[in-house]
């Protein structure tokens, strides 16, 4: 029986991208931190191995493009919901090229592709929080109103609310979904404020999981056959306090995944994959 809007967190495929050597030196970053190329490499390898081996997803790994130092952060290039993929127009001009490879990959996966062609629109996937019931789009340095409008036009079933990103990089730099109707949120004032706004805008009632560290609030939730609730989250080495919070979640299969090096160039866990649910065709 066909049912809409069902199965939050169910994924079958993931699109990832290899780390270009140029990342260590040329990737955009808000801090001024040095990145160890080897460590980034290791992190990414582990990340991909979790998706493939631990979780059994079918992973499409796009080759790195040295001219696109940020290309490993595929999340920004596309927003996928159900069978539709919106190819974005990232806010940073240097990253616009990344969409091309993503588009090809998603086309091959037989998704309905919608492209953001409007030259006044910008949108980074990192600013898009899909809760399973609705979208929140963070208006940030990288995402503007027009970009959000196009997203709303693309995913007509859902309400799309805009929320200001008061501090931090992307909306998902301090929040993400940690389960169905469960929002993981950082405890900074700005994060809490944004959450308040989200809550006001929504007809749905969410639970929240408050993490002491904003960055740790970026985690990846999946609901997989035979595995149940799966959560990829920060390691105790990176954020000891926040890791403890995750460890208290009883119903989740918890997989700590290190993100230390990628974090130095503002990459979070969700940034490194685009997750797709290819249902048996309707």
């Amino acid at each position: 029986m066909a049912e809409l809007l069902a199965g939050f967190g169910c994924y079958t495929h993931a699109v990832v991208r290899a780390v270009p050597r140029s990342l260590a030196t040329q990737a955009l970053r808000s801090g001024n931190l040095e990145v160890d190329p080897l460590k980034v490499q290791q992190e990414q390898e582990y990340y991909v191995s979790v998706l493939t081996q631990r979780l059994g997803l079918e992973v499409i790994e796009l080759p790195a493009d040295e001219t696109q130092p940020d290309c490993v952060f595929v999340e920004d290039a596309a927003v996928v919901c159900e069978n539709t993929a919106l190819i974005t127009r990232p806010g940073a001009e240097s990253r616009r090229g990344e969409a091309e490879a993503m588009k090809r990959a998603l086309t091959e996966l037989d998704l309905n592709i919608v492209e953001m062609t409007d030259e006044t629109a910008t949108l980074d996937g990192g600013d898009v929080l899909f809760t399973g019931r609705e979208f929140f789009v963070g208006l940030s340095k990288r995402t503007n109103q027009r970009g959000a409008e196009i997203l709303a036009d693309t995913f007509k079933d859902y309400s799309v609310s805009t929320v200001p990103v008061l501090q931090g990089f992307h909306l998902k730099s301090f929040c993400s979904m940690a389960g169905p109707d469960l929002i993981a949120i950082g405890s900074s004032e700005a994060a809490q404020k944004t959450l308040k706004i989200m809550q006001q805008m929504s007809d749905h009632k969410y639970d929240k999981l408050t993490l002491p560290d904003d960055l740790a609030a970026n985690c990846i939730y999946m609901n997989l056959p035979n595995k149940g609730h799966v959560l990829l989250h920060c390691t105790p080495e990176e954020f000891p306090e926040s890791a403890k919070v995750f460890e208290k979640l009883k119903d989740h299969m918890l997989i700590p995944v290190s993100n230390e090096e990628k974090g130095k160039v503002d990459g979070a866990l969700t940034c490194c994959s685009v997750l797709i649910n290819k249902k048996s065709k309707i």
Binding site: M1, A2, E3, L4, L5, E82, N83, T84, N112, T120, R133, E134, V137, L139, N144, Q145, R146, A148, E149, A152, D153, F155, K156, D157, Y158, S159, V160, S161, T162, P164, L166, L182, I183, S187, E189, Q192, K193, L195, K196, I197, Q199, Q200, M201, S202, D203, K205, Y206, D207, K208, L209, T210, L211, P212, V245, K248, L249, I282
Partner: protein, 791 residues
């Protein structure tokens, strides 16, 4: 004098043909022509024509009407033929008397449709501007239908959030038809995938199982599913249809509804408007509140509990909202509607939705002779009432014909969907300018500022600003007339000056009476005073929900402290019980709240998943944590003292009282007309916190204790729910047991809440003699309708 009753109803009526002989063929009635027959008979005949048993409530009305006012019998009745376009696109024709109320027509249509759960539905008409209006059941039709043909549409008025809770399949069927029209017209946008899923259920419901012999590949093309229907979509629908073998029409409709209800625009009634900066936005009224859209994006949402007041003046529509967590003051947000009528329309829709979805029962209708204020209110049943009523439906599921047999008619009528030019097309995304202005404002803090804060309440204390504003508002109020064009000149009239002065003075009087804390509260309502000042005002309080909360705490303390503590509490209690309630706690409460969110993560050191409490519930939940207490320190004392000042009988706030004192002072008689359109709904939340002195010291909550145990016990009676939350913590070597009781009393005003609270306090003391009550928070949500009921 008569022959064929079924074709000449007026004559048939004249002959007083026995009811049984009149066949129920309304839609074959010719237009009512001039006639000279006595009304009563005519009506009887007509009613017969309407069919079956005469049990419509409207009938009683009419008969009593007749018997009481014989004068009217002699008057020549004017019958009107009405054409009502039904949800399946077919037309139904019937005759009503010109001065019948809207209800009469509505009842006729519902009867024709065999619909019992009718409260979700209503009748609309297009006015001279081709705008959709709801026919007010309580008002004479002829007063509503002006200058247009008597053509109507039967529509869903209140979209049930849970269609599964409807009692009858037939009701769901009509809801489905409405939604299909909503989808076709673009009012309810959906994705390709959704179109296919919904379309497939539609086909199953109308055609039954897929039959490869009967249906070729093209059978589906005669259906209309989407504004832009494609071959691909039709193929997908066929594929799905094939999988539904054995599904009954009612099941298919249920699936349809279960899917469609999740769509973001389900049941959202959109109205074009502009914000204060002239940016085009849409206001969406729905079961949960008021939604603000810019293009497709939701930029704000005001849940009904967050809205304190809805009003309109001229072409402006205002909502006054409860202060948010980061604001101290209530704010009024204004929107510009295209014209006066649009503003009034929106206001009415809001009043109705609020009543239907939020209240247990509607306010009693005003007494017709005395009330000069707006008579408008939602007069039907609320959702709660209609659910109760429909649970009593005993008839066997009625047989009804789905459009399947009239499939061709159906598709024709759907094609004809252009008839209802969608007034508000949600997807009418205009390629407007980028306009980040809106966002610019939004970026700040207060979400409410997103649109425009017309009257930041704190301003009201400043003389200059106050006067100016009041003047402005007042002149606007003057303009508020049925006929705008004739009144426009009045803006320049100096006459409003007098009332302004008075109003301003009034504000200050208030301030004096209520002290600083309430000043903001009463001040901010100057606007409403202006609105209501001409009304001979009656009031009604409709308490529909109320929470009382006790916090009991045991802390090592000296007898002295203990004593003080208890005295304090009993004093507080007395104050409360004597003084009734006042509404002053609100602002204070909000202030307190502002410090809670940051603390919570630190405090639940064992961080748990917390419910992300929606704004409207925040007040009670915030109390839930003992953590909020320390922020109370400096204000604690004020609160009870305020309540002492308040007048016991003031269940309403000063705000509402005022106009009832003032109105007759007003020199103008003219504005009386205006006041009819004045706002009615006042939603109030009152939170009063009583707390003992001793808390101050005990509250260095900065270093959290260690939670030893926590338990929650819930018990329920018919009208109250008691939740007891017991926590034991060790803090700096001192163990502390905290018992928090939350008692939710819901019901109508006839419950004696004060007594209930007193009882609760008493019980708590008895149960825990070794503990003392440290805090009492009373949280009360009230509906107040200014114009009605006596004090």
């Amino acid at each position: 004098m008569t022959t064929e009753p079924e074709t000449k109803p007026e004559q048939q009526g004249a002959s007083a043909a026995p009811p049984q002989t009149a066949p129920p063929i309304d839609n074959e009635l010719p237009p009512a022509a001039a006639h000279s027959t006595p009304v009563r008979k005519d009506q009887a005949g007509e009613r017969d024509a309407g069919g079956k048993a005469d049990q419509q409530p409207s009938e009683d009305d009419r008969t009593s009407h007749w018997s009481k006012s014989p004068v009217k019998v002699t008057r020549r009745p004017r019958n009107m033929q009405c054409k009502i376009t039904l949800l399946d696109g077919s037309d139904y024709t019937c005759v009503v008397e010109k001065r019948d109320k809207g209800q009469v027509l509505f009842e006729k249509v519902c009867e024709h449709l065999n619909l019992l759960e009718k409260d979700y539905f209503g009748i609309t008409y297009r006015d001279v501007e081709n705008q959709k209006n709801w026919l007010d059941p309580a008002k004479d039709m002829k007063k509503q239908i002006r200058g247009i043909a008597w053509n109507f549409f039967f529509n869903v008025k209140f979209y049930p959030p849970e269609p599964a809770l409807l009692s009858e399949d037939i009701t769901r069927y009509y809801l489905c038809l409405q939604l299909r029209d909503d989808i076709m017209s673009g009012r309810l946008p959906c994705s390709f995938a959704t179109h296919t899923v919904l379309g497939s259920y539609t086909v199953q419901s109308e055609l039954g199982d897929y039959d490869p012999d009967e249906y070729g590949t093209d059978y589906i093309s005669e259906f209309r599913f989407a504004p832009q229907q494609t071959k691909e979509m039709e193929e997908k629908i066929t594929d799905l249809h094939k999988t539904y073998k054995g599904m009954t029409p009612a099941e298919a409709e249920m699936h349809f509804l279960e899917n469609v209800k999740k769509l973001s625009m389900y049941g959202v009634d959109l109205h074009h408007a502009k914000d204060s900066e002239g940016v085009e936005i849409m206001l969406g009224v729905c079961s949960s509140g008021l939604l603000i859209y810019r293009d497709r994006l939701r930029i704000n949402r005001f849940a009904w509990p967050k809205v304190l007041k809805i009003s309109y003046k001229r072409n402006n529509f205002y909502i006054k909202i409860r202060p948010g967590e980061f604001e101290q003051f209530e704010s009024t947000i204004g929107f510009k509607l295209p014209n006066h009528r649009a503003a009034k329309r929106l206001w009415k829709v809001c009043v109705e939705h609020h009543t239907f979805f939020r209240l247990v029962s509607p306010e009693t209708p005003p007494k017709k002779f005395l009330t000069l204020g707006s008579k408008f209110r939602y007069s039907g049943r609320t959702q709660a009432q209609t659910r109760r009523a429909s649970s009593q439906i005993v008839r066997p599921a009625p047989y009804f014909e789905r459009s399947s047999s009239k499939r061709y008619t159906m598709s024709r009528s759907l094609d004809g969907a252009q008839r209802s030019t969608p007034m508000n097309t949600a997807n009418g995304t205009r390629p407007t300018e980028m306009g980040t202005a809106l966002y610019g404002t939004a970026k700040g803090v207060a979400v409410s500022d997103l649109i425009t804060t017309v009257t930041p309440e704190r301003k009201t204390t400043e003389d200059e600003g106050e006067q100016d504003r009041v003047m402005l508002v007042d002149s606007v109020a003057l303009l508020e007339e049925e006929d705008e064009s004739t009144k426009v000149t009045e803006v320049s009239q100096p006459s409003p000056l007098t009332p302004i002065r008075q109003d301003t003075r009034t504000d200050f009087t208030d301030t004096a009476v209520d002290g600083d804390l309430t000043a903001t509260e009463s001040d901010q309502d100057d606007e409403s005073e202006i609105k209501t000042q001409f009304i001979k005002q009656n009031k009604e309080v409709n308490v529909f929900i109320r929470h009382s909360k006790l916090m009991i705490e045991e802390i090592d303390q000296t007898p002295d402290e203990l004593l003080k503590h208890q005295t304090n509490i009993s004093e507080l209690k007395r104050t409360f019980l004597e003084g009734g309630t006042d509404r002053t706690g609100l602002t204070e409460w909000e202030k307190r709240l502002s410090s809670s969110p940051l603390r919570s993560p630190r405090l639940d050191e064992a961080p748990m998943i917390e419910p992300l409490v929606p704004e409207e519930m925040k007040q009670e939940s915030a109390v839930g944590g003992s953590t909020t207490q320390d922020s109370l320190k400096d204000r604690r004392v004020d609160v009870p003292s305020e309540s002492q000042k308040s007048h016991p009988e003031d269940i309403q706030s000063e705000e509402e009282k005022q106009p009832s004192d003032k109105p007759l002072d007003q020199p103008q008689s003219e504005p009386l007309g205006d006041t009819q359109q004045m706002p009615v709904i006042h939603t109030e939340m009152k939170t009063i916190t009583y707390e003992s002195m001793q808390q101050g010291e005990a509250d260095e909550d900065t270093e959290p204790g260690i939670l030893m145990s926590a338990q929650t016990i819930t018990s329920e009676t018919s009208s109250t729910t008691t939740t007891t939350h017991i926590t034991k913590t060790v803090k700096g070597g001192i163990s502390e047991t905290r018992i928090e009781k939350r008692i939710v009393i819901s019901g109508d005003a006839d419950i004696d809440h004060d007594e209930a609270l007193a009882q609760a306090i008493k019980e708590a003391k008895e149960q825990h003699p070794d503990m003392s009550v440290t805090k009492v928070v009373v949280h009360k949500e009230t509906e107040i309708t200014p114009e009605e009921g006596e004090e």
